[in-house]
Symmetry: C2
Subunit: 250 residues, 2 copies
Amino acid sequence: MLSTIAFSNHKGGTGKTTSTINIAAVLRNKGKRVLVIDLDPQANLTYSLGVTGVDATVQDWLIGHSGLDECLIQTEGLSLLPASVSMVNSEDVLKKIPNYSFSLKNKLSQLDYDFVLIDCPPAIGSLTRIALTASDYVIIPMLLEILSIQGLSQIMKFIKDIKITSNPSLEILGVLGVCVNESRKLTSEVLGFIDFAYKVDVFNNRIHNNVKAAEAPSFAKSVIDYAPECTSTKDYKAVTDEILKKIEFS
Amino acid sequence: MLSTIAFSNHKGGTGKTTSTINIAAVLRNKGKRVLVIDLDPQANLTYSLGVTGVDATVQDWLIGHSGLDECLIQTEGLSLLPASVSMVNSEDVLKKIPNYSFSLKNKLSQLDYDFVLIDCPPAIGSLTRIALTASDYVIIPMLLEILSIQGLSQIMKFIKDIKITSNPSLEILGVLGVCVNESRKLTSEVLGFIDFAYKVDVFNNRIHNNVKAAEAPSFAKSVIDYAPECTSTKDYKAVTDEILKKIEFS
Ligand SMILES: Nc1ncnc2c1ncn2[C@@H]1O[C@H](COP(=O)(O)OP(=O)(O)OP(=O)(O)O)[C@@H](O)[C@H]1O
Ligand SMILES: Nc1ncnc2c1ncn2[C@@H]1O[C@H](COP(=O)(O)OP(=O)(O)OP(=O)(O)O)[C@@H](O)[C@H]1O
Ligand SMILES: [Mg+2]
Ligand SMILES: [Mg+2]
């Protein structure tokens, strides 16, 4: 039973990439077959898995320029469809495909995994559109700060538009607090505001601020593999269990 | 003597917006006439200055759809050319202008300020291209973390391309460390790596992690006005003095 989950937020630096790689690693450790897709020209997810010098990107696969076997990379027990900075031309390139919004959805239907996790760029554009059109669920990672609330507003409008135009069954699994410092007054104020102003679930578990999560990419590993006992690993395990419960009952 | 400075980084959440508003406020307090331009469809800068319900954006002005008087807003002692989420269509809209890369440069030549500060989106696209083409200087705000190094690499390649194709006199004023925690080993490792791997100046002064900087937007003020005695204010004053020295001797 394939579940496709997008990690999306217009706001930059909210833990989209860090959440994609770490939730993927927890699922892998539970024996799930996981494909991660890097849809960001920054290619942080690709880099975090130790992959450099990418010739064939996920965009090349989508436009039919390269076959799956040329693009797909096995790394750290995960399958990866990588990105590279060549994808900064995505607005021009992808829109040439007829019905481009559905390009990823159509291609994914040929694949066989338990979970597909999609890392989105900090932009409301064609890459995020194809990710959300292809997904069963979207998780919105965010810092619990003021400017993040503006980003939440924008991504939720965009999700609403996607549900109307190309994917009525897209479900928001929830807002995921990332890099959280519980002792800040700002943290509880932002949570209270989200509760008051938005009809959206917020994950009970949060990912706390922990330098191990920021160090892991230089070891080309998830923090789950780099520091199995640290707070970030415990946090991501708890969040992944919460995701599995939500999916089970959705 | 007009100095135009872009705050740019492909990486998300690196303090581009926070640096634009706070350095603008410090310059204003020194009696400079400052125009800030929000070139990000997220419109965080616009929001941080208490401006909502924007009808005419900087993009409308650039494409000749609205006059300067319809777009320009006076707020907190600064002039602002605002953004809104309508600018997510910038790739399509701007590229219709002949020689679009020069659109901002040409329009700015009619204006009379001491400083123009441009807040860029976390993207290497048409908005960042017009910003860098119009600027004398670029500052690269970054977190001192691993994934930021990848962003630095990408933005420096892009700056090199801009210098060749549209703005040979563009100068990198420097990399600005933002949200810095000096006690982390990661901080000094990243600084050491930048020093070793890149021919780029790094500001001696850094902006340290301080919750006041994150709280300020909810008061529609710069942190300079919101919390004049806090660490972030002292940091931004020191950085602004460093900018003025660098410009004087460049
Ligand atoms: N729990 C955490 N604790 C400390 N640092 C973290 C944590 N999660 C992520 N980081 C760091 O914060 C920065 C931003 O995280 P990340 O790159 O995952 O965000 P993003 O939303 O994918 O950013 P972008 O919008 O640029 O794609 C990175 O340097 C990352 O290593
Ligand atoms: N010195 C600081 N201390 C603590 N928090 C900070 C500091 N500077 C910025 N922040 C917070 O960090 C987050 C990211 O900052 P900011 O929005 O300025 O980055 P950005 O590079 O403009 O992001 P984007 O790529 O989304 O445009 C914001 O919530 C901001 O309030
Ligand atoms: Mg990312
Ligand atoms: Mg910004």
